[in-house]
Symmetry: C2
Amino acid sequence: MPLRITDEIKQTRPFASKSAEAAVALMRTADLVRRAIGGVVENAGITLQQYNVLRILRGSGPKGLPTLEIAERMIEQAPGITRLIDRLEAKHLVARERCSTDRRQVFCCITTEGLGLLDSLNEPMRSVEASALGTLCEEHVSQLLGILDTTREAIHAAMTTSPQANHQPRSSHR
Amino acid sequence: MPLRITDEIKQTRPFASKSAEAAVALMRTADLVRRAIGGVVENAGITLQQYNVLRILRGSGPKGLPTLEIAERMIEQAPGITRLIDRLEAKHLVARERCSTDRRQVFCCITTEGLGLLDSLNEPMRSVEASALGTLCEEHVSQLLGILDTTREAIHAAMTTSPQANHQPRSSHR
DNA sequence: TCTCAATGATTGACTAATCAACTATTGGTC
DNA sequence: GACCAATAGTTGATTAGTCAATCATTGAGA
């Protein structure tokens, strides 16, 4: 018997709207998935974001990708991409090289050591993903993917029409 | 035409499994929702987590709640609950009082100022939630909630059976 | 060719998250 | 009543996230 989100966070008053309830459920579920997966990769001494970078670089050619191109492909926005990659470089999991044709760009690529680390995580990752989302039937997974696609679409649309609510003048609180 | 997650992160190889794809889509979508909502509350000078605490305290009685009870109800796990509430107290949005019957506990409750701040956020929150998730039809929202419930259930189950993969001895990398 | 805005990336300063270690208090149990 | 594990919360040390400011390089125009 699945717990509804209202019970789970012991909420006393009902949600103002279904949208609000969905937003909360979405963030709470994602946090759980994030932590489950994060627990796996941290056993290898890297964070989830670092793992994400390594995966991106494995999927790109041997030349690698320029720094900001990696940032764009991240699952979670990462303004601190430079230092994130600094840490990966310090662990010898990625290598950086300034591009010769456009010296502004820095190409990053995954090292053999980095590829080995990813390999060692293949099986535990498969396992945790299966236990978290593998219980859903094929049809539910498809529904979920479709709904999430639509949601991201809506957010993108909202962000481009109203030039985002972020970064307005701060109130007195800080 | 909604973008599939594979296109969005410009992934070159297909996902290993539907579960993996769903996990990525879930985290990416949640990050977007999180940032959209976060942008709204930050205009009031508080973070999303701080907003969450205020909402929890508004929903509890005038006596408030003990510190760790708040932590349990958070949407996202928050080990730094003490300092999170420190900041809210510094802004005079919550008040703390040590419990007289069990002096280990510290009850936190929202101040009038805190309630006022929440009120001022009601309308912008409603608006951002509506633009992000309000485009989904009633039926899709119900499906989403159901699927997310099942997913959280599965993660809880997995965490209690295998005593979580977290906190194992670190590898050589750091 | 000289300027100058645009692009790509990095750094600084600050804030927040994380985990382990610690203190204070309580409720048993001998 | 003394001991002792369990509970509630805090603190220290470290790491990571955030935003603005900065630097180097490029490409387009005057």
